[in-house]
């Protein structure tokens, strides 16, 4: 018996075209419990969105392939489900909000209709039209939009409000899991703060589990219980928020990420980015994918792919921790 809401094991996803094969996600494993907020951090192109789309099984049909691994949701395997079964899960049990609110809403449908649609698609207890409309009003209020605006069209809302509508739409059916793919990246900083605060409140009130995908370490700190750092399709470090933010031990990539955040108080003249570029996903290097850029690179790093090392709740995929005190090899 498991109390895990979502459990992903050894998942690998590729995009295959006639010209090339892109290894977007490589052998990742993580899980979350009910009500937990899990942060997925990484640069653009690390594979975060692909992971989210894979969970929803919304990969492009012609090119996306799940090459190995399993996804279990409330104990049942998701990869075995038929498309109609997946459709009943999407929007109702697992909801997703996307990065760009400007383009995520249908321009020719009113906002109220779009939220109502989410409920009409999953109307198991046969709510009447009035009941659905009442719920639309309720959910709009929840995100801070007056219900009189439900007849308006997306272009009549600002970016921040559009994102709220998207969130309202996602929460309309009270899903147990919300996947938020960079929900605030496209918004101004001040609006970001509002939206994040709202998401946190909703999560606390409704008890929704959440996967928060972002490249912003600040947002992760404010919202997440557990965090995974993703690089080139792999999870290089996983742990609780405490582990990630306070522990001395880190994957060199994580150190680099934290180091590249400009510090208001320091007198440094230059920013310290991580040198180099992420590897080409069609031609991943043998051994550790981060080795070409790693300041602590050893000979073994280029030859052998590192396995995961565990210290309590903290997992790091790096040869540096082989044989270190407190660190045990994690069995796959």
């Amino acid at each position: 018996m498991t109390d895990k809401l979502l459990s992903i094991k050894n998942l690998s996803v590729q995009y295959k075209t006639d010209l090339e094969t892109v290894c977007a996600v490589n052998n990742i494993t993580f899980s979350l419990k009910k009500g937990e907020t899990f942060g997925l951090v990484g640069e653009t192109g690390a594979g975060k969105t692909t992971t989210a789309l894979t969970i929803m099984r919304l990969l492009p049909a012609e090119t996306g392939r799940i090459t190995e691994g399993s996804i279990e949701f409330t104990g049942k395997s998701m990869l075995d489900l038929t498309e109609p079964e997946m459709r009943s899960i999407r929007g109702e049990q697992i909801a997703m909000i996307f990065q760009d609110p400007m383009t995520s809403l249908n321009p020719v449908m009113s906002v109220g209709d779009q939220i109502a649609e989410a409920m009409e698609l999953h109307n198991k207890d046969n709510k009447t039209k009035e009941q659905i409309q009442a719920r639309v009003d309720e959910v709009l209020l929840l995100v801070g939009i007056p219900s009189s605006r439900k007849f308006e069209f997306p272009h009549q809302f600002s970016g921040g409000m559009k994102q709220r509508v998207v969130i309202a739409m996602a929460l309309a059916c009270e899903p147990v899991l919300l996947i938020a793919d960079e929900p605030t990246t496209a918004l101004d900083v001040t609006i970001q703060a509002q939206v994040i605060s709202m998401i946190r409140n909703l999560r606390d009130t409704l008890g929704t589990a959440m996967i928060m995908i972002t490249h912003d370490l600040g947002i992760v700190a404010q919202t997440c219980d557990n965090v995974a750092v993703m690089y080139a399709g792999e999870l290089v470090e996983v742990g609780t928020a405490t582990d990630i933010y306070t522990s001395k031990d880190h994957h060199p990539y994580t150190t680099g990420l934290f180091g590249s955040i400009p510090n208001l108080r320091s007198k440094a003249r230059r920013l310290t980015p991580i040198t180099g570029l992420m590897p080409d996903p069609t031609k991943l290097p043998p051994g550790c994918t981060f080795a070409p850029r790693c300041p602590k690179k050893m000979d073994v790093c280029e030859a052998e792919h590192p396995c995961a090392w565990r210290n309590g709740t903290h997992l790091i995929s790096c040869h540096l921790f082989a044989g270190q005190e407190n660190w045990r090899k994690e069995e796959a």
Partner: protein, 315 residues
């Protein structure tokens, strides 16, 4: 209501265009040699009679005044002059012939939409399969044809060999079938291709992905979300391509011997019948402007973003 204001505004904007168009046509056709007097009275008439008629019709006035007189007569006295060939008022003849042309054009547009739009949607949804390649290839081929050629082939097969439809005149509804197909096929090919590309672009949009994430079926995604958005530009393109349709329509009318405005103008040009040509082209151009206006307006009704812009409610 703000929509009325929008319509009035657009109608007002049309006036300078109509004036400009009529002036341009008037000036061009004016260059045709020949005076109304000798044309209307015939070669044998006396010079004094010819001169008197010319004076009466204002032939000796400078260009601008002649134009002014022509427009005044046209708008306020509904007089577009008399045909040199038939000596009858041009306006009456145009009045008889315009409905025929409009009928032909309207049928063709309807046909092209019925033919082109559904196939366009199909080929977009089933991209790169046989359901895509065949309609697209067909559309490419058809869009490149002149209407009169298709008309001739149709005439050959259905009139001369099979005898199903008459090749000439407007005896019955049957006379309208072949012109409709001849005009509608190339136009329809164009519609197909444009619907296809519009649909393909719409399917790629983020809000379609959102609909899928909500658990919508593929059919709902196509019908409810994609199509409504994809068909908007199709309307404008249909309107804009109308100008191309007119060219084909004139040839089709002439080919099938339909007594429409197009064939009227053609025979007018051949006979150097200035009032017919001037009146005919101006009327045609004005009708064309109204069609474009109607298309623009319909776009405003269908797309809430445009509607908001004009009713001043949006941001």
């Amino acid at each position: 209501m703000n929509v009325h204001r929008f319509i009035c505004k657009r109608l007002l904007m049309m006036i300078p265009i109509v004036i400009g168009v009529s002036f341009l046509i008037f000036v061009i056709i004016d260059m045709i040699p020949g005076d109304p007097g000798s044309n209307l009275l015939g070669a044998g008439a006396r010079q004094e009679d010819i001169d008197m008629l010319n004076e009466e019709l204002g032939y000796n006035l400078p260009l601008m005044q002649r134009y002014g007189k022509y427009m005044y007569d046209a708008i306020f006295r509904l007089d577009l002059g008399k045909s040199y060939a038939t000596k009858k008022p041009v306006l009456t003849e145009i009045g008889n012939r315009l409905p025929v042309s409009l009928r032909v054009a309207f049928n063709a547009i309807l046909f092209s939409l019925v033919f082109g739009v559904p196939l366009g949607v199909l080929s977009a949804v089933k991209q790169n399969t046989v359901f895509d390649r065949v309609p697209t290839g067909l559309a490419l081929l058809l869009a490149a044809q002149p209407a009169f050629l298709i008309g001739l082939v149709l005439m050959l097969i259905f009139s001369l060999w099979l005898g199903w439809f008459p090749a000439n005149g407007i005896a019955s509804w049957k006379s309208y079938v072949m012109p409709m197909i001849a005009l509608g096929l190339p136009y329809g090919g164009r519609q197909l291709r444009f619907t296809r590309s519009s649909m393909l672009e719409t399917i790629r949009q983020d809000y379609v992905r959102t609909a899928r994430a909500k658990g919508a079926t593929e059919r709902m995604v196509i019908w409810k979300h994609a199509m409504k958005n994809a068909l908007l530009p199709v309307i404008t393109v249909a309107g804009n391509s109308f100008g191309i349709l007119i060219g084909g329509a004139i040839a089709t009318e002439t080919l099938f011997g339909l007594p429409g405005l197009g064939s009227f103008i053609v025979s007018g040009i051949k006979q150097k019948d200035v009032p017919v040509v001037t009146g005919g082209i101006i009327v045609f151009a004005v009708v064309f402007s109204f069609v474009i206006l109607a298309v623009d307006l319909s776009y405003a009704f269908v797309d809430p973003r445009i509607r908001a812009k004009y009713s001043g409610r949006g941001r």
